[in-house]
Every structure is written in structure tokens, then in C-alpha cells.
């Protein structure tokens, strides 16, 4: 095993551990835990047996195994970024609603003298 393989396997192991601990605290659903675990196990698989990536690359019509990994990683990052944007927008809106409700409390009840 080369050093880079070892490092990557350890990182994947940490990823699985993090997913399990989030699942225990109720932060992940069972399905999400399964998906994250599969993702990290796939990473381990590709790291230990790089030829699986080459096989995937050939079947997808991409030249090299390393390339297909990079392509998929970029696609995944874009997707996450997109989800994050949506999430952020939701939060913005919720904070605005909270702020609004607080502000308008002053307008309720009998008319103020001001």
C-alpha cells in the first residue's frame, strides 16, 4: 500500500465515523447514513483498486480512471453547492419572517401615542 492510499483510506474511515456519529445524534436518517457509507466505501474501493475506476472510465467512455473520479467529484461539488444555495435562501427567508414578526408586534394592540 502506498502512502497516498493509506491517507485516503484513513480520510474515508473518518468520513464513515462522522456519518455514524451524526446518525446516532439524529442528524442523519437511516437512508442518508447508508448513502454516505456507500459513498465512502466506494472511495475506499477506488483507492485500493484503482483499476475499478479505469473500468468505470472505459464503460463511461472517458479515457482514464483518474479523470472519471475528477469529473464525478466536480459534479458532486456543484450539486452540493446548489443545495447549499437553496438552503441559504430558505434561512434568509426564515430570518426575515422572524424579524418581521418581531417588528410588527409593536403595531399590535391599541394605537400607541406615537
Amino acid at each position: 500500500m502506498t502512502v497516498i492510499q493509506l491517507v485516503l483510506v484513513v480520510i474515508a474511515g473518518c468520513g464513515i465515523a462522522a456519518a455514524v456519529s451524526r446518525f446516532r445524534r439524529g442528524g442523519l436518517s437511516r437512508l442518508q447514513l447508508l448513502l454516505w457509507s456507500l459513498l465512502w466505501l466506494a472511495v475506499v474501493g477506488v483507492v485500493l483498486r484503482p483499476e475499478t475506476a479505469s473500468f468505470l472510465a472505459r464503460s463511461l467512455g472517458v479515457g482514464r480512471g483518474a479523470d472519471v473520479v475528477v469529473y464525478l467529484a466536480i459534479a458532486a461539488l456543484f450539486y452540493l453547492q446548489f443545495r447549499l444555495f437553496g438552503r441559504l435562501e430558505d434561512h434568509e427567508r426564515q430570518i426575515t419572517e422572524l424579524t418581521r414578526a418581531l417588528a410588527l408586534k409593536d403595531l399590535e394592540g391599541p394605537p400607541h401615542g406615537r
Binding site: 444555495f85 437553496g86 435562501e89 434568509e92 427567508r93 430570518i95 426575515t96 424579524t99 418581521r100 418581531l102 417588528a103 410588527l104 409593536d106 403595531l107 399590535e108 400607541h112 406615537r114
Partner: protein, 224 residues
């Protein structure tokens, strides 16, 4: 007479808000200032000049403040609601004109346009930015408005109740246009004169904000 309320969103406008409120009170029954989390004396100055004031505990941006102001005006029983800027660039007589146009009864929403008579001293850069705003608004929402980014508007109570403002920041001006289109509101534009002072220009938007606004509008359109 129907009850007229002017909503003024204000963020750190302590220098100008008092004067704006006093002029606004000449043409409306109530003036509601939404202090959008200012750190200066905006609230105090507005109160002292006779406005009703509600405060955002944290700054939410123009859209957030306008949404609060319109909701507040509805609670106050407004029959007609206008919005104007706090930096002194809008004249009360133009708001009055917007109210009067509304009172004719054949429209639900009035936008005060700086472009119809082209009076005032709008700088060229502003004019370009405004054209781009109009063009993007048209592309996204299929409605050409001569001044889509104008902060001076008036709407009937019914229109205000139907319009849903979701954006927090500058996209709100185009969002009004979107709502007008989606809810089939009848729109009229009245000519207004914008008064650009060094102060109001210094508070104005820059390219970065413009780009951000455009990007948000496009993304939101794609996501909805």
C-alpha cells in the same frame, strides 16, 4: 377619504429621514418607517417627525423592510399604500400623483418612473444600470417597465394583500413586477422626478450589488 399610508424603508438614514417623513405626512394619513436595523438615529428622527416606526432587530435588506412595511400598513387599515425612499430622492408630490393615479380606480398598482419625462439629473451610469435592470426584468418576467428599479410605488389594499414578497434584498423591485404579472394586476406608470444629491448618490448601489441582484433573480427564476 380612503386611508393612505406611505411606507419608507430606512437603513442608517438619520440625516434625511426626518425631512422625508415631514414631506410624506403632507400627502398621506400615516407614514410608517421601517427601520431596518440602523445603527444611527434613524428611528428617533423618524418618530420625532411624526412617523410610526417599526424596527428590524437585524438588517434584512430592502425587500425584507418593504415586506414588513406593507404588512404593517395593511394592519393599520390602509386602503392605499405607497413606498418611497428614505434618502430624499423622491418628492412627496410625486407620491401624491401616484396615489391620485390609483384613485382613478382603473389600476391596482402604480410605479413612479424616472424615465417617462426624463426630468431630474440622473447620472449616465445610473441610466445604464437602470436599462440593464429593465432588460433583465423583461427577460425574466415578460413585462417591460420603463423604470423597473424605481423605489416609488403605490398599490391598492387588494393588490397589497395579493402580492407576496419573498426576496430580502434588492431583487425586490423586479419581484414586484413579477407579482404584477403573475397576479394579473393592472399597472400604470406615472412620471416622477428623481432628485440626486451627493448624499443619495453616495448611498446608491454599486456594480457588485447589481451583479448579485441579477444573479439572484436568474437563479430564483430557474429554481421556482
Amino acid at each position: 377619504m380612503e386611508k393612505r399610508v406611505i411606507v419608507i424603508p430606512a437603513f442608517n438614514e438619520g440625516r434625511t429621514i426626518g425631512e422625508v417623513v415631514r414631506s410624506a405626512l403632507q400627502v398621506a394619513d400615516r407614514v410608517l418607517v421601517v427601520d431596518d436595523g440602523s445603527t444611527d438615529r434613524t428611528s428617533e428622527a423618524a418618530l420625532a417627525s411624526g412617523a410610526l416606526v417599526v424596527r428590524h432587530v437585524v438588517n434584512r435588506g430592502l425587500g425584507g423592510a418593504l415586506g414588513t412595511g406593507i404588512a404593517g400598513a395593511l394592519r393599520l387599515g390602509a386602503e392605499a399604500i405607497a413606498t418611497m425612499d428614505a434618502d430624499g430622492q423622491h418628492r412627496a408630490e410625486d407620491v401624491k400623483r401616484a396615489f391620485e393615479r390609483l384613485a382613478e380606480g382603473d389600476v391596482d398598482f402604480v410605479i413612479g418612473s424616472r424615465m417617462i419625462e426624463r426630468k431630474g439629473n440622473m447620472p449616465a451610469v445610473r441610466r445604464l444600470a437602470q436599462f440593464l435592470g429593465n432588460a433583465l426584468t423583461f427577460l425574466l418576467f415578460r413585462r417591460w417597465v420603463t423604470d423597473s428599479q424605481s423605489g416609488l410605488r403605490a398599490m391598492t389594499r387588494t393588490a397589497a394583500e395579493r402580492i407576496e414578497i419573498r426576496s430580502s434584498r434588492m431583487e425586490v423591485s423586479s419581484e414586484f413586477v413579477k407579482e404584477i404579472v403573475d397576479k394579473d394586476l393592472r399597472l400604470a406608470e406615472v412620471p416622477i422626478e428623481a432628485v440626486y444629491t451627493e448624499y443619495s448618490l453616495s448611498k446608491g448601489q454599486n456594480l457588485a450589488v447589481g451583479m448579485q441582484t441579477a444573479l439572484k433573480l436568474i437563479l430564483r427564476r430557474l429554481l421556482d
